[in-house]
Structures are given as C-alpha cells and as structure tokens.
C-alpha cells in the first residue's frame, strides 16, 4: 500500500481501454531483452520488434511486393547481391534521446559478424563501412535469397549502449534502449508490459495503443482458452476447431486471419527406401492425399492453409512464383488416376493390398511426435487416403528427440515436417531437394534434404537461383526447380506455413485482412509493429 | 550324586552367559566401554531324563533367555552347553536341525506360537518332515495328537489355530515339539497365558509325557506354586543369576535366599487372613528390579535385600550348600559358614 506502486495506474480502470493484450503460448519466461538471443523473452513474445526496429519491412503475405523502408530510407543491392548500400533515415532517435546514425547500423552488423552466436541466419558478412548516413555491407556470397533476413530481420541496436556490453551473446539487456515506439515498463515471468514512448523522439506518429501487455501462457490449450475468454486479444496459436472454440464465443469481434507464406508443411518421403524410390509410386501417393480434409480436420480450417498448386506453393504468397506451365494446375484427389498410374508401372492391386512389381505388398510407416496433434491428425487422414490405393500405412509416434534424430539420419519412411521459409520459394525447395545438403544415410542432415533426394538438375537450379545476377536467370532456375519438384515428388506438400493470428476487434480495429493484407498477422514478427501502428480504438 | 544319574544327563549348561549388546549411546562413542544387557550370567543347570527342572524368577530375570540359549536360538556369550556331555555349538543348517531334533522348545504364548494361516496338519507335518520323517505321515500325525490327548485326531488335524482353545493350542505346540522326538523339552512359561481352568490340564500332560517318554523337561515359570506342584527340582533366578536351587519341596517350603523368601511371601495365599499387615511390608524397600545394563555389584539382590551385609555389595556370592536337604544351595553370603562362625 505504498504510493509509488508500479501497479498504481492500472487501478483507474474506468478509463477507456488503451492497452492491448497480446498472448503467446511459450511458457515461463525469464527476463531477457536481448534482441539477438533466440532464447530471450523479447524473442519468444516478440516484443523485441516494438523496442527495436529493422531497416526495412517486407510483407510475407505478398513477398513479391517491394519492401517498405523503415530505419533505412533507401536500400540499394548490387546486381550480384554481394553488397548493399543502406541509407539510414534522418530524425530517428533512441529512447534515451541519442540520435540513431549510420554508425549504429554499422555497429549492429559488425556485432553480428563478430559473434557467431548472434548470426542466426549464418550470413557471410564481409566488410562493413560507413560513409555519412550510408552504410555499405559486403558479403562473401550472393545474398539474393537472404536479403530480407538481413534487412528486415535484424534489429538495429544503439552503439553507445552495446559497445559497453561485455558479452552481447549472454547479456540480458536489462534496460533496453531502442528506436521503436515503445519502452519497457515492467517484466514478470508471466509477461511483459511495454508503454508507449513519452520522450517525443519516435520518428513516426506514435501508436494509439498506449500499452502492450504480453502474457506468456503455458501452452496452446491455455492460450486458446484465454483467447476465447477475451483474456488475450491477439495471438498466434493453433486453435482446434477455431470456429467453435474461438470465433463463436464472440462472432462480432473474434477473428482469425491466417494467410499462407513461402514455407510449407508436407510429407517427406525417404526416397532411398524401396519401393518409394519409384517416382510413379510417389506420384500416385501424391494424387490421393485429401488436402481439403486435412485443412479442415487437422488444421481447424485455417492454420495451415491448403496448398492447391501442384508446385507446392501457397495461394497468395506463392502466386507470383508459379512457373507458367503449372499456372492454374491444382491438386485434385484422383484415386482412379492413381490406380491407373500404378497399374501402368507394374503395381497390382490385390483386393485391398497394393503389391509392388516385385510382388511385395506396399506398406509405409508414417511417423511424427505424439504431441503435435495437427500432424498426427494429418497422418491419420493420409493413412486412410493411402488405404484407398491399397497402401497400408501405420502411424508411429516416436518421441520428439528420436524423431528428430531419425529424420535427420534418414531413418524413416515418411514423415510430416516443415520446410524453411523466406521471401522466395527458394527456402522451401532447398529444404526438400538441395543436393548440397545431401548427407549419407545415417549421418545427420541438419538443414534439409531429409529424404535423401538426388537430383543434380534441382541442385544446379537451386544454386543458380541463389547466385545469379538477373531476374530472368532466376525465373528460369525457379521453373526448373518446380518442374523437378512436381515430377519427382520428393515430398508431398500438404499445407502452407502461415503468418496468421487470432485477434479481437472488441477494443482495437485496423488489423490486416484479406481485404487489406498489408502485413502478416503474427505478434512476434517484425511486421507486428506495423500492425500496432495501424490499430485504432474500436469505439472511436 | 550318583554316577547313574550322570548317565541320565541330557543337557547341561555350564557357566552359561549371555550379554545383549546395546547400541551405543552418543556419549559412549568415544569411550572404549561397551554396554550390554547382562541377561544371563554364569548359569549352571542340568536336565536329566525323566526329570523336571523348574526355573522361577520375576519378569525380566532372564528365564526365557536361558531357554533360548539352550535351544541354540541365540549364540551364547560365554559358558558351554553340553549335550550328553559333549560341548555343542551350532550355527544353523543341518547341524542346527540335528540339535533341534534332540532339544525342543515350547513357547509361552500358544496364541502367538502357531501360525494363524496354517492348519494343525501343516504345523505337525513340518515338524515331522524337518526331522527326517519322510514316510507316510498320517499314522505319525495321529500318534502325535493322541499323545497330547487331542482325540480323536481327525477332528483336530484340519483345524486352524483360532478354532482351538488356548489349552488345545498349547497341546498342539507340544505335539509339534514332540514331532522331533526330542530328549529334552524346554517349556518357557507354557501355561502362563492360559486360563486357570486349563492350566492344569497342560501341566498334567507335560508330567505325563515326562513319565511316559522319559523326557528331560525345563519348566520355566514365574508361578512358584506351580513349580512346587510340577517340578522335581526348582532353580530360582534373579537378575540374570541363579540364586537358589534344590528339590522343589525344599526350596518352596524352606527357602534360603532372601529373594526366594520374598517371592514366596508375595505369592497370593488364601490362607493368609485378610487385613493382616503384610509381614514384609516394611522392609521390602524398592520393589523395582535392577538395571541389567549396569547390574549392582556383588550380590545383585543386595539393594533390595532386608538382610544385606556390607560384603554383599562387594563380593559376588558363591553357591553355598544349605544342608537342610541334599542338593539345596543358595548363592548368599548368609550361608557362608566361615563368615558366620
């Protein structure tokens, strides 16, 4: 009962709501505002993007759209993408009142370059130089596919603060000084409160939301319950049967928006295991998967948007990248076609059992860790889909570590897994097909190509896409990549990764939507700041 | 004593001693001294064929310990146990079984000494089996039950202990002991847990067995009257030591040791008139038995003894013949003729 209580101003609740309650299902948090640390609370809850800002913002929903300048007023990449010139915006100030300069930007990249532990995207930095308000970064390899990771995913930190920090990898950055519109108000293990800057130094108009209250829930269930109850107004979490459990609780205000992005989930097939080394068999399997069922039953009709294009690219985000020959070509469940294809390849359907040309029944083990219930449901559906062409599937639920190790070592038959994601489809296809990532069976392939897919054609094309200096070359390479992916079926794409979120319009409006897809919808990504800046009180 | 009697000796204890170590207390941790319960010290006794020796004494005086030592259920601290004159020490296994087949023990509490989950048949069968009777057991079982007057045997064989009365249970316990065809029977208060009206039956049975099977019996009791009734010879124990011995009639009628006298005077006696002032009331002193961990020096009875002399607290009394009847002795300085004269 002391006057100086940090909670004092929470009491006058009669005022109209000027805060936003953001939730994430990420468990207990410890105070760590280090924007570079993957394990920090700032990262887990995403508030680092309210404190620190990137150089540019890009829209993952429309990855082909031009980037939005943010702390950089201009970004000029060299044709070979081995260097870039960043012009730093004038007038931005750190929350301690110091101006934000090109020195700060250069220092940030130098910091990352000098600390492998901070270099989360493994960017091969070269020289970093400053000339006036222009920073020039050079790289050892072309960075076309990484351009947004560098520009839009790197939080810029103040040099005058960070140069005093002894070990930037382990420092918890107790008093974060950033350029964003919010400053840290309080931290507890259950959540974080940010309040809007009062020093007048933000370079844009300040957001209407005066306070951001982040809460970390123990898991998906509690987060989903909190959303349904209105205890959270914005989150990114899988909500089973979202219509019933969330939207219907307040149909006027409870909304979901989950646009797909360039990152997908699919069934990886181990192409070294007989008879799945047979392209025809994989094609047939691909033809019978009921993606619509999976979308509705496993993904609650929203979470992983159904992949329709045969190229495995999601609708919307992928549209701009689909090769001409696959434009408009979509997946359809075609059991008869699959049967015919198999028959032509020498398979015999013996009653309900498919026998391979050698006469052995085709059986497949599908595996994923038990707690991933959407994958598990997906596998159950795939299992019944395969049964229609006589493939007997069994679902195994190894624990996550075992599964991880098995998938990486190639010790599996088929497994649902995700791909990397990025601003181009490159990351998707690279994860599935890159021969450069290929490791012998038994050796862990940590970054991709778990199915041990061998295609020199795809490997060359992927390399070309990353390194070429012209758009035309890149388009050609991408078309080749897609052709291999569609014809060889190294993986059966099922759903898109999403940048979605669940939110409530009860107190705040102005959220991105299909009508105005100005950004993604996850509260933990850089664009969350764009959303917060656009929010307006509901009753005004 | 004649030599023919010696031929009859079955079991003999010579200087039998048992100390139970007590776990050390903290303060003794650093001293060398080890404390122990001096449960039995320097006990001599002889069991003869067809003879009953009674061992009387108050509770905690070490009677049961003597019995268990004789049954070799406890290892002894000192002294010797002689079976037919040969020193025996057994540790278990076959050796123990051979010993057990000659010396058997009956426990105080017939309600506790039979396993409630097994039938009478089981108990007796085990006793026979363990002691090498592998043939047809049925006649042997009948024979055993007949011997302890549980007739007809069929009625009892398949009963559980709880279905029998205390006296019947004690008979089963005796039958079990007989199953080993022992020469010596150690009966540790075999009737003290039994009802007054059934006690007699069991005692009579024991006497009968002694006579018919020519058994040597050690009869342990705290009821000195029953020792008079049942035993040929009576030994009195106090605080782990023998204080008096002799034939039963002499010991009970003309007790020599002050403790025996106290014991006998304390026994309820209907012939004593009500309201009489107890003759012993004044000089009884402290009625508590002494600690056996630090037993009194000299004669262990001296702190309670109405006739204690200075010597009693320093010198351990030796067996002294009383002379009123052959074989009557007491460990009391009162009877030291040299000192008296």
């Amino acid at each position: 009962a002391c006057g100086e209580s940090p909670n004092a101003n929470n009491a006058n609740a009669s005022k109209s709501v000027d805060f936003l309650k953001i939730g994430m299902p990420n468990g207990t948090q410890t105070e760590n505002h280090n924007p570079f640390a993957g394990t920090s609370s700032a990262n887990a809850l995403g508030y680092k993007w309210m404190l620190y800002e990137p150089l540019t913002q890009w829209n993952p929903v429309k990855p082909a759209d031009p980037v939005t300048p943010w702390l950089a007023s201009a970004v000029k990449w060299a044709d070979d993408y081995k260097s870039v010139e960043v012009t730093v915006r004038d007038g931005a100030k750190w929350s301690d009142g110091q101006p934000l300069t090109a020195e700060d930007v250069a220092y940030t990249f130098t910091l990352i370059k000098g600390n492998d532990a901070l270099n989360q995207h493994a960017i091969p930095f070269g020289d970093i130089t400053v000339a006036g308000n222009v920073v020039k970064l050079t790289f050892k390899t072309p960075q076309f596919v990484n351009q947004n990771k560098i520009m839009a995913s790197t939080p810029i930190v103040p040099k005058h603060v960070w140069e005093k920090i002894a070990d930037p990898t382990t420092d918890v950055n107790k008093n974060p000084v950033g350029s964003g519109p919010y400053t840290l108000k309080s931290f507890t293990q259950a959540g974080v409160v940010l309040s809007v800057r009062t020093d007048g130094g933000y370079w844009q108009e300040l957001p209407k939301v005066k306070e951001l209250r982040y809460t970390s829930f123990s898991g998906n269930d509690t987060q989903a319950t909190a959303l349904a109850n209105g205890e959270s107004e914005w989150s990114f979490v899988f909500i089973p049967n979202a219509k019933a459990t969330f939207v219907d609780k307040d149909p006027a205000n409870h909304k979901l928006w989950a646009p797909g992005v360039l990152g997908i989930h699919g069934l990886y097939i181990n192409t070294t295991v007989k008879p799945f080394d047979d392209v025809k068999l994989r094609q047939a399997m691909n033809m019978v998967i009921n993606r619509t069922d999976i979308f509705h039953q496993a993904e609650a009709s929203y979470f992983h948007p159904e992949i329709k294009s045969v190229t495995g690219l999601p609708d919307g985000a992928g549209d701009a990248f689909i090769a001409p020959e696959y434009q408009g070509k979509t997946f359809k469940v075609d059991v008869e076609g699959a049967k015919a294809l198999l028959a032509s390849a020498g398979y015999k359907l013996n009653g309900t059992t498919l026998n391979d040309p050698a006469g052995k029944p085709v059986k497949i083990k599908l595996s994923d860790p038990a707690p991933w219930s959407d994958y598990q449901t997906t596998l159950e559906i795939i299992k019944s889909n395969f049964a229609e062409i006589g493939i007997e599937a069994t679902v195994e639920k190894p624990n996550q570590d075992v599964w991880d190790a098995n998938v990486q070592k190639g010790d599996f038959e088929a497994s649902m897994r995700w791909t990397n994601g990025g601003a181009t489809p490159y990351d998707i296809y690279q994860t599935v097909m890159d021969g450069a990532l290929l490791k012998p069976l038994g050796t862990a392939a940590q970054q991709g190509n778990f199915g041990r897919f061998k295609s020199p054609e795809a490997t060359t094309a992927l390399k070309a896409y990353a390194n070429s200096t012209s758009d035309a070359e890149r388009t050609a390479a991408m078309n080749t990549i897609q052709k291999v992916f569609v014809e060889q079926v190294p993986m059966l794409p099922v759903g898109a990764d999403n940048v979605g979120g669940a939110y409530s319009t009860k107190n705040w409006t102005g959220w991105p939507s299909d009508a105005d897809p100005y950004s993604g919808m996850q509260p933990t990504q850089p664009y969350a700041l764009q959303i917060v800046l656009k929010l307006k009180p509901a009753n005004s | 004593m004649t030599s023919t009697q010696d031929v009859d000796v079955v079991l003999e204890a010579v200087g039998l001693t048992k100390h139970f170590p007590v776990r050390r207390a903290l303060r003794q941790l650093f001293s060398k001294q080890r404390s122990a319960v001096h449960a039995v010290d320097d006990v001599h006794l002889t069991l003869r064929r067809g003879h009953v020796v009674a061992l009387v004494g108050e509770s905690g005086s070490g009677k049961s310990t003597v019995a268990r030592l004789l049954a070799q259920l406890y290892p002894r601290t000192g002294g010797d146990i002689r079976l037919h004159g040969a020193s025996t020490t057994v540790h278990g296994g076959r050796q123990f079984r051979r010993y057990a087949s000659r010396v058997q023990m009956i426990f105080q509490d017939p309600f506790a000494s039979l396993n409630p989950v097994h039938t009478i048949r089981y108990h007796l069968t085990r006793a026979l089996r363990v002691h090498g009777n592998n043939g047809d057991l049925e006649p042997a079982l009948h024979d055993l039950l007949n011997r302890v007057s549980l007739t007809p045997p069929e009625r009892y064989l398949d009963k559980f202990p709880h279905e029998l009365s205390g006296g019947q249970r004690q008979r089963v316990a005796i039958a079990r002991a007989l199953g080993a065809r022992p020469e010596a029977l150690l009966a540790d208060e075999p009737v003290s847990m039994l009802d007054v009206s059934i006690r007699l039956g069991v005692l009579n049975l024991l006497r009968d067995l002694k006579e018919r099977l020519n058994l040597a019996i050690l009869y342990i009791t705290h009821d000195i009257a029953s020792a008079r009734y049942f035993a040929d010879q009576t030994l009195v124990m106090y605080a782990g030591r023998m204080v008096e011995g002799g034939d039963s009639e002499t010991v009970t009628q003309t007790p020599a040791h002050p403790y025996t006298r106290l014991l006998i005077d304390s026994a309820p006696d209907p012939d004593r008139l009500t309201g009489d002032v107890d003759p012993l009331d004044e000089d009884r002193g402290n009625g508590e038995p002494p600690s056996l961990i630090n037993p009194p020096s000299g004669c262990r009875f001296h702190p309670r003894c109405p006739t204690a002399m200075p010597r009693c607290s320093t010198d351990l009394p030796v067996r002294l013949e009383i002379g009123d009847a052959p074989g009557h002795w007491a460990a009391c300085w009162l009877y030291d003729r040299e000192a008296v004269s």
Partner: protein
Amino acid sequence: MAIPTSSLDQVIPGQGAMAQPATKPKRQRFLFLRNGKAATGLAVLGLYVLLAIIGPWIAPYDPSARSNDLVQAPSAAHWFGTTHLGQDVFSQILVGTRSVMYVGFLAGIIATTLSVLIGVTAGYLGGKADDSLSVLTNVVLVIPAIPLMIIITSVLNNASDTLIALVIGLTSWSWNARVLRAQTLSLRRRDFVEASRATGEKTWRIIVFELLPNLTAVIASGFVGTVIFAVLSEITLAFIGITSNNGWNWGTILFWAQGQQALGQNAWWWFVPAGLAIAVLGTALSLINFGIDEFVSPRLRSAGKTKLRTAAGGTVRMRIGFTPVLDQSSSPHTQARYVATPVARKVGS
C-alpha cells in the same frame, strides 16, 4: 532408521494375541467379500476387467477409424459421440480399457513384487542388509516419482505399455516396501516365527511360508493402492504427451480431447467419459482397499457397523464411551430412560 512408519504399525493383526484371534486364516480369507464396500468395488473392477478382455471385440467401431460425423454429440450410433476426426469415443474408451488395466496391474505387480522382496527381506534379515535396503528404499521414496517417470519415459522411444508399466512399477515400490518392512519387523518378533526356527525350518521357508501368508492382506492393500497410482500415472503421462503410445488408453483420449479443446467447443462427451471411467475405477479400487483395511484391522471393521438393527426394527447408534441402553418396553423393570430417575429406596437391601 525409518521415517516414522505408517499407521499400519498399529493395526497389525493379532498383536494382542489374547484379545484378538490373530489374522484370519484361509477359510475366512474371503470373508471380506461380505464387506459391502469390497464387494461393490470388486464388482466394478470385475466389469472393468471384463471390458479389458472383450472391449476390443465388442467395440462398435475401430477406435481410430475416421468418419464424416465430426464432433457429433452422443447419439444411438455413437453413444459417447465422436471426435474431430469422426472417431467413436465409446469405442475408444472400450478399447482403451485394456491398456489402462494392463499397465495398472502390471505396474502393481512389479511394484508389489519389489516391495515384498525388499521390504520383507530387510525386515526379516535385519542388521546390515536391513540398513542398506532401508537406505535404498528411502532414497527411492525421496526422489519424486512423477518427474522421474516423465524423464525416464521420455528417454524411452515409443514406449510400449509394458515398458511404461515397468517404469511406473520401478519408481513406486518404496512406500509399500517401507510398510512391509515395519510389518515384517513386528511379525518377526512373533513366537510362531521363532517356533518354526526352533523346529529347524530354513530361512527361505520361514519367509515364504510363515511370514508372507500373514502379510497377504497388507500386500494386497499395497497392491491395490499401487494400481490406482499406476493408472493415474499412466493417464497423466499420456495426457501431457510424454508417452508416445500408439494404442488407445483413456489418457490418450483426454490428450486428444484437450489438444482439440473439446470442452472449449462444448464437446463434453469427448472429455468427460474418460475422466469418469478413471474416477470410477479409482473409486472401485479404493473401495476394495477399504475392504482390505477393515479386514486387516478388526477395529475398523467393527467400526464400520455404527448402527445396529434391533429385533423390533429400530436402529441403535453405537458410540464410544456411551454404550447404548436399549429401551425394552416389554421388560417389566424398565424406567423412562435418559432421565435421572430417583428410585425408591425400598428396592434395595
């Protein structure tokens, strides 16, 4: 050495040999079935065992089979409704019974065997063997079972029911072992053990044939308790997704139901039955345990009967310290009760 032992110390059968006709022997052993609680418990347990055996055959559907009736409320076709995949919840419960019972009983058997081996041996042998076994028991007792189970299970890949039962059994024997040790210690001092030693029996025979039969009730009670614990543990492990069991058990059902926010979508039929099934099984086992407890401790048994029925049909409540006085109106010498009635002096002398 032991941490103060449980109440069971005080209810050892037949301690006061005169007062109580020791442990009930064989012929009366099943008397405890007459105990209403035990009989009810056993009947329910019997039903569960039956379901465990025939459940998979009488289940109307394949519990994993999908159908188009997604998240349907209970109906004639689906007694307990369906899941988000259109699976039949009733079939899942039926089929899941087997795994629950199997794990529960196997873990119970393992833990009981261990506790008997360790507890009875420690109690009978005494000395150094006792000391080291007691320390082992206490160390296991002190280490928290559930977190330990979680860790061990997460080490095991794709653990089968048997393996899970093994883990549960191996981590939950210590309490019973301690109780058994205390019991054995007190039994060991009983004369019949000494007597059979004096007869010349071998040590193992004494333990197996003299001691164990007298411990059956305690062992059984410990067994039943462990089964409850094992069932709850199995279900909890499945619920938090630690066990990656492929088959169905009630924990798996709850795992799916919770993962799909069954209650959030008002699909109570998906969440409630499995929990109730567990609770009823647990209650049945507890009832059996009460039966055993009362059977072991005659005091509890007679205490069960607190009301007696008179011939006239009335009831009399038993109270300790105030023996009821029956009002026998037929009796000529009865006064009005519960009033201190002065009695005419003339009746005396």
